[in-house]
């Protein structure tokens, strides 16, 4: 591993701002690649970050994405001030989506975001309060 101290960064996400969607993901990808992290981990981290960004942009007023690169793992925490999720188990089902039509026309909102995030992380935690917001915490291990 090329670092022995934590590297961290954060991004503010603005609801409805599709223009900047993917910026955090691309930034993290570059950072991880520079650090020599193996390609599969970089790919997974990119996917979970991008999907997390998009969820905040689609559903919330605003949110933050923070990443921590530690010697043993990468942790990504996404917190938003959005409507919250009433039924998390339902939301985690592949294909289930509450996205409006115009979002689906863009090719988002097919109900694969949360499942993709869980699938590509080694640890996945989601908490939500309706009317307040949602927090997702994901970890990808760097050592197996």
């Amino acid at each position: 591993m090329v670092t022995n101290q934590a590297i961290e960064g954060s991004f503010q996400l603005i609801g409805g701002n599709f223009e900047n969607a993917g910026n955090a993901s691309i930034h993290l990808k570059q950072k991880l690649t520079e650090l020599g992290i193996k390609e599969d981990v970089v790919r997974r981290a990119s996917i979970i970050t991008f999907e997390a960004e998009i969820n905040v942009i689609i559903y919330a007023a605003a949110g933050w994405l923070r990443y921590y690169i530690m010697p043993q793992y990468i942790k990504i925490i996404v917190e938003d001030m959005g409507p919250g999720i009433e039924d998390i188990a339902l939301a985690m089902q592949e294909g289930y989506s509450t996205a409006p039509e115009w979002i689906r026309e863009m090719g988002w909102g097919a109900g694969m975001g949360l499942p993709n995030m869980k699938k590509n992380s080694d640890e996945f935690k989601i908490d939500s309060v309706v009317g307040e917001g949602t927090t997702v915490e994901m970890v990808i291990n760097l050592t197996s």
């Binding site: 996917i47 991008f50 090719g107």
Partner: protein, 112 residues
């Protein structure tokens, strides 16, 4: 095969970042659902889609795709092209359908 080969053989119109035409193409991916492309496409794939909005650039960038072909005579939005130039993503267009574009690229990659 290089992206330039496909542009010539299939008469594609190049709309952004023509420097990207020197890239190698190793496969193809056809989808209009961005989460699907994020999850399943591979680095070096050409992405075939009807989508024209700027998020396609970030997706192509993050996945290391060789380029994007927008089909069915759809025109990429201006924001999309600006972003594509900035992030060095080659976008091409064609009047062919996704089916035909995928079909021809598949054939070319398999048999050359």
């Amino acid at each position: 095969m290089k992206l330039l080969d496909f542009v010539k053989l299939l008469s594609l119109d190049v709309k952004s970042y023509s420097d990207g035409l020197q890239q190698d193409v190793t496969g193809g991916y056809a989808s209009d659902l961005l989460s699907d492309v994020l999850a399943n496409s591979k680095k070096g794939d050409i992405w075939i889609t009807l989508q024209t909005h700027q998020n396609i650039v970030a997706v192509a960038n993050v996945k290391g795709l060789a380029g994007i072909i927008i089909v069915g005579r759809k025109e990429p939005q201006k924001d999309t092209l600006d972003k594509a130039e900035a992030e060095k993503i080659t976008i091409m267009t064609t009047s062919m359908s996704a089916f035909e574009t995928a079909g021809r690229i598949y054939q070319l990659l398999k048999f050359t």
